[in-house]
């Protein structure tokens, strides 16, 4: 058995070497790179699928790279360097460290490579040639407005738990958190800072690492601070599922509204089952597909993609998914959400 395991490991090694081996270049084939935060999150897995499909259709030789965990900056730097060395025409990147990645991306742009930030804007945003992303602030606003409308008059004395991503608070974390509070009608003060609000309705912020275990722990901790919590914002749906488990253990799952962002298939199913009240759905496949299209256009005739009107990036769209629509807040039903979910 041990030998079989060893054999399997060696086999896997051989396989990975085979995939690295250079392909025979076709006539107008160009190189492109997709660099994601991790291979763990289904969001990035789906993004990779979108990019791979587009590359096949547009005769692009796609190399994909991913950090080991969210926040693994070094691996991403190495990936960018490899892309420059390989003579790729374009890089699609979801940056783990949105500021620190800028210098190495500048080297890439200086070498004539089109750099497109996917999902996560760089800081500053114009450090990339274009940004194809979900409007995360809007995604937050939608669930904030929905929660406020659902509570009606009771929104004035709601008790809100904020389940964020990580202590380092990357931009997506800040945008969703602040968008939600803005939509709910909280004065958010500095839009770029989590936790500077002094609204009494906010019980507290805690981090979840975007997974079930973290979501549960964070919810337990905030419930220990105030057991009257009745609105829970979560950075993504796994965190929301964890928060629900904690509420269930406290026998509180009935009277609490949980809202989230992402629109992954298990998340939408959780909306259907009443675990999550509403979630803002984003579209990673579109992001990657359009990114590859843009690289093809850049290689063919040197055109760069343009931003959505009124925004400093290209908005790939977001929809609120709920079976309990609130007046004045546009939304789609769970069935439509299921047909467009990812992962």
């Amino acid at each position: 058995m041990k030998k079989a395991l060893l054999g399997a490991t060696l086999g896997a090694l051989a396989l990975s070497i085979a995939t690295i081996a250079p392909h025979q270049a076709k006539a107008d084939e160009i190189g492109a790179c997709l660099i994601t935060k991790t291979d763990i999150n289904p969001f990035f897995v789906k993004m990779k699928e979108g990019a791979t499909a587009a590359s096949l259709a547009m005769n692009i030789d796609l190399s994909t790279y991913a950090g080991k965990i969210d926040g693994d900056h070094e691996t991403q730097v190495q990936a960018v360097e490899s892309c420059i060395a390989s003579g790729a025409k374009g890089i699609l990147i979801t940056a783990s460290d949105t500021k620190a990645i800028v210098p190495v991306l500048k080297k890439a742009r200086d070498a004539g490579i089109l750099v497109i930030a996917l999902d996560t804007p760089l800081e500053p945003i114009d450090a990339a040639d274009a940004t194809f992303a979900t409007d995360n602030f809007k995604a937050g606003q939608l669930i904030g407005e929905w929660a406020k409308a659902k509570l009606g008059d009771k929104a004035a004395d709601a008790k809100i738990a904020m389940l964020d991503l990580t202590p380092s608070a990357p931009s997506v974390d800040v945008l969703r958190d602040q968008g939600f509070l803005d939509g709910f009608g909280v004065d958010i003060k500095d839009k770029n800072k989590i936790g500077d609000e002094d609204d009494k309705r906010i019980v507290g912020h805690d981090v979840t690492n975007g997974n079930e275990e973290g979501g549960r722990k964070a919810m337990e901790n905030l419930l220990q601070r105030d057991s009257g919590i009745n609105v829970v914002y979560t950075i993504n749906e796994p965190a929301a599922a964890g928060a629900y488990e904690a509420l269930k253990a406290f026998n509180m799952e009935k009277g609490v509204l949980i809202v989230s962002v992402d629109g992954g298939c298990p998340g939408v199913l959780n909306v259907k089952d009443g675990v999550i009240g509403a979630t803002s759905q984003q579209y990673p496949v579109d992001m990657a597909y359009k990114g590859i299209e843009a690289i093809r256009a850049w290689a063919d005739n040197g055109t760069k993609p343009e931003n959505t009107k009124g925004l400093n990036f290209y908005d790939t769209g977001v929809n609120l998914v709920t079976d309990s629509p609130a007046e004045g807040v546009p939304s789609i039903g769970v069935d439509e959400g299921m047909s467009r979910c990812w992962g």
């Binding site: 763990i40 997974n211 337990e220």
Partner: protein, 360 residues
């Protein structure tokens, strides 16, 4: 013979002074111990004392800072619940560290096994009890692979488990597609997998089966390590492998059994983690291996092997739990919690080094 018949003899010179000489039997010069030295000796004899003292003090301090809410049975049972999975991993980690090794793959084994159990029961429709048993088998196998590489191929444990950490993690992603299995699905298809999430209420406290499981695992390991020949062998080989071998212990066999047992404990932890998290989550517990090492080190088990009580890591895990809970209740930011745990770890190792000096 009577004294009267004897004529008193004149004492010789040396006899005159004889009475004044030291009458003590030969002995080592008595050493005056300072308070610190006595403490050092005491702790050397009872290495678990330090963590116990730290645990009691931290409970008192956080109780004073955070108010009565901290002391509530509910909160204390919640801390127990929150540390249960890391505690179980720390138990597995201790076994390996006692042999002067280290296991970086414990967390990866645990998550992999939870995914294997979940996929078997949910996607393939295997009956839950069988899925759990297969999971246990895979855990033992994963540990056995580590042990095989360490003992037969003679690779350092650090390197072996650094590699197997990545291998198990990759297998986890491959099997799960990086996708969680939802709590609701488990309720429908395989509620047994969530068994350790059930709880019993004792007064205001809510004790999960997972917390009880953790305590039971420590109790069993304590018995094995202290009251069986196998346990003596583990300590002996961790202290000095060569002398253990010379005294007739089959060190490789013992070492491989340690890794297999550690893998099995991780697998049990995998089952418990499904109950704790509520779903099968391939993305959770990514730092569990390091957290387990932290608990072991804070618990006073020496990284150099052969010394420390298995009760230590349990206390160590609880200390981390109390710190996190207490600091959160006081309203301290997450990054300062990391800061505090970091210092705690370094101080724990420094104290361990200091205690070790007693023998030299």
């Amino acid at each position: 013979m009577s004294d009267e018949n004897r004529t008193p003899r004149k004492k010789q010179d040396f006899e005159e002074t004889l009475g004044r000489s030291d009458t003590n039997v030969a002995s080592f010069a008595p050493k005056q111990r300072t308070f610190l030295q006595s403490a050092q000796h005491l702790l050397h004899g009872n290495p678990t004392m330090v963590p116990v003292i730290v645990l009691i003090m931290s409970i008192i301090i956080f109780g004073a800072l955070a108010g009565p809410k901290f002391f509530s049975p509910f909160n204390l049972s919640l801390i127990l619940q929150q540390v249960s999975v890391i505690g179980i991993l720390a138990a597995a980690q201790s076994l390996v560290i006692l042999t002067a090794g280290i296991d970086l793959s414990v967390g990866a084994i645990m998550v992999l096994i939870s995914v294997i159990m979940g996929q078997l029961a949910v996607s393939l429709g295997v009956p839950s009890p069988l899925a759990v048993l297969i999971g246990f088998g895979c855990g033992a196998l994963a540990g056995g692979m580590n042990g095989f590489l360490v003992t037969r191929i003679k690779l350092p444990p650090f390197i072996v488990t650094l590699g197997s950490w990545n291998i198990f993690f990759a297998l986890n992603l491959w099997l799960s597609g990086a996708q969680s299995i939802r709590s609701q699905t488990l309720d429908e298809v395989a509620p047994l997998l969530k068994f350790f999430g059930e709880s019993i209420a004792i007064g205001g406290a809510r004790v999960t089966y997972g917390s009880i499981l953790m305590l039971a695992i420590f109790a069993v390991l304590w018995f094995l390590l202290n009251h069986t020949a196998w346990g003596r062998h583990v300590y002996a080989l961790g202290d000095d492998k060569e002398s253990a071998e010379l005294s007739g212990i089959r060190t490789n066999r013992t070492l491989i059994s340690v890794y297999i047992l550690a893998g099995l404990v991780c697998a049990i932890g995998g089952w418990a983690s499904i109950g704790r998290v509520g779903s099968v989550s391939p993305q959770s517990f990514q730092e569990a291996n390091l957290q387990s090492i932290t608990a072991v080190v804070i618990g006073g088990i020496s990284l150099f092997g052969g010394r420390g009580s298995i009760a230590g890591p349990l206390i160590g895990a609880l200390i981390v739990g109390v710190f996190n809970s207490g600091l959160r209740m006081v309203g301290v930011d997450v990054l300062w919690q990391l800061f505090a745990i970091g210092w705690l770890t370094i101080i724990a190792v420094a104290i361990d080094q200091w205690i070790r000096k007693v023998s030299s």
